[in-house]
Symmetry: D2
Subunit: 108 residues, 4 copies
């Protein structure tokens, strides 16, 4: 069953989406928000892909591999960007992105 | 921090979205799919609302209360429909919907 | 047929989602980005609701009225915030939000 | 400006998402719903990707090319499946998928 088989990756995607959404909001609240533009943009993209991938896996979509491959790539980019910043929310987001990229790559 | 404060409800929404997405696919695979039309439709609506609510909470949206109120209502409707069927995926989905509705109501 | 009946509101939601998404990115690129935080947050919420409402109408969801009622409310809030700023992208976004709120209110 | 540059593809994605969502609901209402399972599944995937691609273009995302490439591929698959059925909603959906795939391929 798709739902059970894919559980680890679904949970990694959900955790990553939440970390990205939280990071985007936290970046907007920083005094140096002007330095965080790329991070906010990446967070928005990454959260969208992670939620789409999570749903595709839960439905056992025929396109799970291609979707997870793209999700891994966008998680990598978001981890790279978040990894450049010292804020806790960025560090936690980078960790969530790397964990999600790893699970998605195993699926793809 | 929005992300941490809302964690229980975010996790209930994510679990409910996955249960609904899985239930819709499993309903489509049943031999009595013609009896499962309303269930499939409810599952699709409920998964969409749960993922939107999850993201709104993670971002600490100004509209969290109104969104969670609507999510609770749609979870109730999905739980009622899934509760009419004997399939395991329907029963598990109804449970996830009820748990999510309860968390969303506490937030709203 | 849901799809045809709801066409005007679906198109208003799609146009509003695109205007909000564009406005959020354009706000991030402004030198006064620190003044645009609330606008960016509203844009993200509003785009999410508009896309969800558009899909619910296209599917002829049983929850169209409640979803469109919430969408109208969030469009109003986004129009108010965007209406405070002089940027072209904010003005166009406010117009799209008002048009969408009107269509959604007629549906609700 | 991303929003204007990408307008044709954004509109093709929005039209395709609406056609897919409508087709999935219309398939569920057919007496031969058991024959329409793959079509419904494809419709759900395709609508999700089209809405995500539409938003990514409106935001001028750094990942537009990869997202549109995947969207084109999923539109192709949905067009193939819908093209096998004689229902009007399937034919219109197949047309919308082909038009969207063409625009997305030009973007990718």
């Amino acid at each position: 069953m798709a739902h059970t088989e894919h559980r680890a990756c679904i949970e990694a995607c959900d955790a990553c989406a939440a970390a990205c959404d939280h990071c985007s909001t936290a970046c907007l609240a920083e005094s140096r928000v002007a330095d965080m533009k790329d991070c906010i943009r990446m967070d928005i993209d990454c959260a969208a892909l992670c939620r789409l991938a999570s749903g595709a896996m839960a439905r056992g979509s025929a396109h799970v591999q291609a979707i997870c491959a793209l999700c891994a790539r966008i998680c990598d980019a978001c981890a790279d960007e978040c990894g450049r910043h010292e804020y806790d929310h960025c560090k936690r987001c980078a960790d969530a992105c790397r964990a999600c990229a790893k699970e998605c790559r195993a699926m793809a």
